[in-house]
């Protein structure tokens, strides 16, 4: 039973974040009344925030059924929800109140969302052999429709069983909509392939420079909050999420000082997910190129930025630490630019996740190739941390229910 004595405290919520749902995740992480859990098994409420692509609907149903009953489903700005689910829709402003209401109804047995997938395995156990495992010894056969792990030679020269998995698209820690296909030996990714969604926010006509820079600060700080949470520092993640919702230069400086402490985030991120300068040059991810000191920035040629004195990029090193340090640098500068830009406008800005001149599809392909290179041969924990440091436009702090950059 999902209802326990602990349910009287913060309501445990599992957030399935689609494109445009990042702001919802940060708002909930910052709220004291809600406990964001990292597994549907620990949740009472499934919250769907942002768009649900067609290919991700079936995985969402599995996540729904993995939340123990009685359960509730709440949706915020979720377009493309599976027809099988009947969520309670809410606005971002009234979300916490809605979740508390659903949580209390679950407690008194007045609310439940039925299972939508078959309760029994649709593929029967077709095992042979002394233990029904499917073949001779421990090898061969397809019990329950899935193959037994077969041996393959690993990077350390030992030949052992290799486990093939797909992580995502609704796994906390991975960027929204990201899928990581792996061939694991122990916890080492002997084979890896990353796929990013080919949808995301687009630019709609003329936008204010101040709005774009505010969006940059909120997005980069939001990415930092998610990375901090993935690294196992939830209290710090909550603090950074609050800052991402309402960024200030003083707040950015305070977070930077906190992160510079000796036993903090760098312990987890130093030397992880290294990318060479050549890897990140010309891939359409401006911030990533700038994190290696490559001056790839559409703002240099944008007349709207004339006289605003953009800082030269600094090579922060190619690891995860270098990337989150770049986010802090760029967030601080974005707040300065937003203040100085007054009412300037532009139609081809450098967006927080890359140049507006690069198509979403091209960026997704380049992003996936980079991420695959960065995680290949890594241990699983380090690979997840690496992917958390390579978020996409789908994790931008663009208001849920709309896919355009705010004008």
């Amino acid at each position: 039973m999902a209802v326990t004595w602990t349910s009287a405290g913060p309501v445990p919520v599992f957030v399935a974040t689609g494109a445009g749902g990042a702001a919802v995740r940060h708002a909930l992480r910052a709220a004291d009344e809600v406990d964001l859990v990292r597994s549907p098994r620990r949740a009472c409420v499934l919250l769907v925030a942002g768009d649900v692509p067609t290919g991700d609907r079936s995985p969402l149903l599995q996540v729904h059924d993995q939340v123990p009953r009685p359960r509730g489903v709440v949706a915020v700005g979720a377009r493309g929800m599976p027809a099988e689910l009947a969520p309670i829709t809410s606005s971002l402003g009234g979300l916490v109140a809605t979740i508390l209401e659903v949580g209390s109804q679950i407690l008194v047995g007045e609310h439940d969302s039925d299972d939508v997938l078959p309760a029994t395995n649709p593929v029967e156990w077709r095992g042979v052999g002394p233990n029904g495992q499917g073949g001779e010894g421990m090898m061969g056969g397809v019990p329950y429709g899935r193959a037994m792990a077969m041996t393959a030679e690993g990077s350390d020269g030992l030949t052992l069983d290799r486990l093939y998995l797909t992580l995502g698209p609704w796994l906390p820690g991975l960027p929204s909509g990201c899928r990581l296909e792996v061939g694991l030996q122990g916890d080492v990714l002997e084979e890896a392939s990353v796929a990013y969604p080919t949808t995301g926010p687009t630019l709609a006509g003329q936008v204010r420079v101040a709005s774009v820079e505010q969006l940059r600060a909120r997005t980069l700080l939001g990415w930092l909050a998610d990375l901090t949470d993935t690294a196992g520092l939830p209290a710090l993640a909550r603090r950074v999420s609050r800052l991402a919702l309402d960024p200030t230069p003083e707040g950015v400086d305070a977070v930077r000082r906190r992160l510079d402490r000796r036993w903090g985030l760098p312990v987890a991120t130093d030397g992880v997910g290294h990318l060479e300068r050549d890897d990140v040059t010309g891939c359409g991810l401006g911030w990533l190129a700038r994190s290696r000191g490559v001056d790839e920035d559409a703002r240099r040629d944008d007349r709207a930025y004339d006289g605003l004195e953009l800082a030269a990029p600094t090579d922060r090193g190619g690891d995860v630490t270098g990337r989150w340090r770049t986010w802090l640098d760029e967030a601080a500068e974005a707040l300065r630019l937003a203040e100085a830009a007054e009412d300037r406008t532009t139609d081809r800005p450098e967006l927080p996740w890359g140049s507006a001149a690069v198509t979403v599809e091209d960026r997704a392909v380049a992003h996936a190739a980079l991420a695959t290179r960065a995680v290949s041969g890594a241990e699983l924990g380090r690979a997840v941390l690496t992917l958390a440091s390579l978020p996409s436009a789908c994790d931008a702090d663009v208001a849920a229910s709309r896919a355009e950059v705010p004008a």
């Binding site: 039973m1 098994r41 599995q62 059924d65 421990m138 486990l163 080492v188």
Partner: protein, 117 residues
């Protein structure tokens, strides 16, 4: 006789307590876990292979650290007893032994065997 009564009393209370817990829970959980809930949490995806496999723990780095830090103590206790009798010769022999072990520790360090996870 009193001991026997105590044993039966404790046994009876244990059975009653267990039966009470099972009744209070109201369900036999094993019968109510659906197929999706039996699946691993992978963010909506299914594993392509069964998890019934030989997990590659990479014991060899742990073995190296174990030999370097644990086995040396096995030799150092008897060495400490005869140290006074053998004098400087014992010191040199143990020094050589520790240098060899230190090389193993350095190798484990380089391979990431001492990394915190």
């Amino acid at each position: 006789m009193t001991t026997l009564i105590t044993i039966f009393l404790v046994l009876g209370l244990s059975v009653l307590f267990t039966a009470g817990l099972r009744t209070a829970s109201g369900t036999d959980l094993a019968d109510h876990i659906t197929n999706p809930q039996q699946r691993p949490v992978l963010g909506g995806s299914d594993p392509k292979t069964h998890a019934w496999q030989r997990f590659h723990v990479r014991y060899y780095t742990m073995t190296l650290v174990f030999v370097a830090f644990e086995m040396e103590m096995m030799f150092m206790y008897p060495w400490a007893i005869v140290y006074r009798a053998l004098g400087i010769k014992a010191l040199v022999e143990m020094g050589v032994f520790l240098v060899i072990l230190s090389l193993g520790i350095l190798y484990a360090w380089r391979e990431g065997g001492l990394g915190w996870q």
